[in-house]
């Protein structure tokens, strides 16, 4: 089960400390990318699903 994909590949260089400015930029990019999706709101598919399950009161198990 535990597919411990132990990759013997090791990074030799010890992680250099990133400057605050670089970290801030990376964070900005990351959030911009993430928020692109968040700003799409709740697709109908999911609001329908939640409402349907809520009103039927039962899980329609397959």
């Amino acid at each position: 089960m535990e597919a411990t994909a132990t990759r013997s590949k090791k990074v030799n260089a010890k992680p250099a400390k990133l400057g605050r400015d670089v970290q801030a930029r990376l964070g900005q990019q990351l959030r911009a990318m993430y928020d692109e999706v968040v700003n799409q709101g709740v697709p109908e598919r999911f609001s329908d699903l939640i409402n349907r399950l809520d009103s039927s009161g039962k899980k329609d198990s397959q």
């Binding site: 990133l18 990376l26 990318m33 928020d35 692109e36 709740v42 999911f46 009161g57």
Partner: protein, 182 residues
Amino acid sequence: MPMDESVRKAVLAAVPSLRAFAISLCGNVDRADDLVQETLLRALANIDSFQPGTNMSAWLFTILRNHFRSEYRKRRREVEDSEGHHAESLKSQPDQYGHVEFREFREALAQLPADQREALILVGASGFSYEEAAGICGCAVGTIKSRVNRARTRLAELLHVNSAEDFGPDETTRAVLASGGE
């Protein structure tokens, strides 16, 4: 059972962020939406085990993450394969300093080890605390911290970013503004 109105609202409110997290895990919108759907079905079927007053988002993220780990891992091999191809074609132009495009950023993110990627997203984008992220991933807080650090370092390497200037401040600002608001 009929859901408490506040619970229903909390679930709905968590969906946009759940999707963003799912997409970052799967790297594919359709698959991510299936993952979100399966997560919601599981969550709602087990809504009794949600403890009122605790963080609904964190609860849903945990379910999604565990489901992804168990079900989607098998399929990842194919994805990684195609991502590898994709990444290689992008690698041919490392001299494009001045701006880092979303697509490039996405590709770099996709190359991170799964543990590091999810930690970075949870803390850096979803807005969870280190403690919450540790709870979601079922590991120690210190582990999350070191994963986030390694993820940032690796991202900077992949993107050939050594200082903030490499991002091209104007481009970045424009990209953020363009995607962020009207």
